[in-house]
Amino acid sequence: MQIQVTVNGKTRKSEVEDRTLLVHYLRDQLHLTGTHVGCDTSSCGACTVHVDGVAVKSCTLLAAQADGCAVTTIEGMAIQDSPTTSQLHPLQEGFKECHGLQCGFCTPGMIMTAADLLKHNPNPSEAEIREALEGNICRCTGYHNIVKAIQWAATHSTKPEPNQQEEPVVADEHLFTNDVTTGEVVETH
């Protein structure tokens, strides 16, 4: 079936199977692989994205259900200042600065869940943060720095989420990338 979804501000028209999960649509068709898959029972939260501004587990939604919706993934959190530079979202900055990550696999989901929390509760207490992350598992960090990262973000200004509309593009015509990313870690230097 055909769906039209606005992903990170870009409207996409795509052909998907009825049974395709939103997470696989994002990863396999749009190549937005920052949204991770860590389970098959809606338990881990690695796949969390925003659909119409609400944090959802994208492994628990069909792509078809997102038809007509606006989806924000981790790739859409930073503000693109120019084609080559971008400003990180305060949560991204916070996770980086406060070492809220080790392997980084849970990180996009954590950030998306936290963003939803901060929207409703801009100054959460430690206990509120810990409760709010009930659906996200981190196996590495012991959560301590994740809490700190969210507190850090809460005290730093939040930039608006991207919402500019562009011409719809056909989803499957993405650049084929198969580059080794080891170099990417410091290309930002």
Binding site: F105, E134, R139, Y143
Partner: protein, 744 residues
Amino acid sequence: MHNQVIGKPISRVDGRAKVTGKAKYAAEFTAPDLLHGVVVSSTITKGRITHIDTGDALALDGVVKVFTHQNRPKLAWFDMSYKDLDAPPGSPFRPLHNDRIKYNGQPVALVVAETFEQARYAASLVKIEYAQEPHETDLQHHLDTARKPASGLASLLKPPPPKARGNFDKAFTEAPVQLSTGYVHGFEHHNPMELFSSTVVYGKDGKLTIYDKTQGAPNSQFYVSQVFNIPFRDVRVVSPYVGGGFGSGLRPQYQLFLAVMAARELKQSVRVSLTRQQMFTFGHRPATVQHIDLGAQPDGTLDALRHAATAETSRFEDYIEVVVNWSGALYKAPNAQFDYNVVPLDQYTPLDMRAPGGVTGMSAIECAMDELSYKLGMDPLELRLKNYTEEDPNEKRPFSSKQLRACYQQAAERFGWTKRSPEPRSMREGHTLIGWGMATGVWDANQLPARAEAVLTVNGKLRVSSATADIGTGTYTIMTQIAADTLGLPLEDVLFRLGDTDMPLAPFQGGSLTAGTVGSAVKIVCEDLGKELLKLARKMPNSPFAKAKFDDVFFVEKQMRLKADPSVRIDLQTLVDQNGGRAIRTTATSMTNSLKQGKYTRYAHSAVFVEVQVDEDLGTVKVTRAVTAVAAGRILNPKTARSQIIGGMVWGISKALEEETVMDHRYGRFMNHNLAEYHVPVCADIHELDVLFVEEHDDVVNPLGVKGVGEIGIVGMPAAIANAIFHATGKRVHELPITLDKLM
């Protein structure tokens, strides 16, 4: 004096890639016309496949092929070819080898289709009939078949139990205070958050580029090359980011085999990802049964110590871990005996899992010491100090360094241990019982040889690489720091790369040895590069460095300077220009100083103090406060190191209170094989955690003096928690995890 960044809390250099979603894990690389493989798992535990019907699966649109043992290609014949670099003694499991089922969940077919959805549905249509045979999976029911494990190369890093000393039987019988106790631990699975995946990109020339989830790309390359008889140069394994490992990625897992097999047969790129359920179908932390006997004088002096452990293994390999040795090294006990046995059962071979053996054995001895302290009416910390040893009694040799006493002291003080009321059940707030407990942690500080390459590029930047891994530990960051300091460059001028078999060889990331092992290689290769730079400087006309030796110079602020007169200096960029504008490149190997290291026992130590709150009516346990003091040599980066320790402490909470894979022995099948029922801590389970690094100098362990911090954080935690629970409730639970039912 010239250190700029080692020892500083530098933020991760890979942080940005990870918070923006740019860091790519094994399942996130792609290729044109990528095919998707889904694994079909056995539903029985032991027997034979009698019939496979793939008709319905193959009839579906998009399904390309179903691989089974009946149609798999011919592969290497000998067991030897299937042994990866971390294989224990035995005959490794071969996926789709024949009709035999050796364990529940064994891969029996791979369905390959154009889309993941097609493959997943088709996999559900593959019909398999079995002839079942009776299986044995229950360790406790088969303790009578325990035997000594086969020993192999593995014993290099995993020594056998220490030799008995003194006369245990006599000393124990004569000891005025005796304790005989036992502990049972269940199965555990690593469950890193990333699912095991391999994306095999099939090149036009048939060469393979494999994006694999692994803790050691070279091991995957070695395995693929052996099994499929492909020269090394035609297999490149790449693994820049790994979504956690904890030991699970030490051996190549079966998705790698299946993806490579399919890609080669179909001459097309293939990705195989396991489901979370299938993450329970390979290595695990073995279930164990331990027994400890302690004989002591009324003043707490240990006369006799016996520590025996029995662990399960598979029918095909003898997995070994070091469980009983720690107690013998930690306490003087002049009369001691040790024993370690395995029971082969119908399941997959266990696999190193964070502090393998260490957390198992230390949990037992440290709970036993706690039990003894109550028998003696002695403070648990005092009992440890009474039996403290400055020399390793197992090997009768000194420790390369041991600041455990300082760990005890500093952690106890931070925790407020002296305010403890010794009686169990003596501290409470309403219906909440409060308990304080403590324990010790010990872990190896090993070093292996490793290689690295350093290049000073045309624009004066440093690139260093080594085929090691960063499974989340912070390797990228600390190696960047080491390289930057060695050649006096700012961090942003240094790029460290890893996880690619095109890079110089390094061992897998495991056993807390990367910091010391790869760190040494990085230091040495950067020093070698420095020597090359000095050579260039000496050759310059009228060079003030003409007579300088390497020891006469130092590197700082992108310059080489004379120690005797730091105003004599030259920019590294100038030296590159001097080299005709060409990059300067060196490769080096760091060897271990076995002669020197062999004279010492090399361990990291920790002391852990824990407070728990137990709901008297419900039996629920909360770890409200924990302090860990760690002596692990030099700390390269307190930010990454502290995070490692906190992560380890939470693993300890998990092991003590939550984590266990429960098997239904009637079916030989793990019941809670998903993250809904396999409990690990979530954010709200965790409360105050405090980490102290105790200063420790060690010039034996490796040139950097670091011991590694990946495992030491978990080792002491479970015992400290169990001991705190006893203090709170007066109940000694001899089985981990201590779930509420055991406290009711």
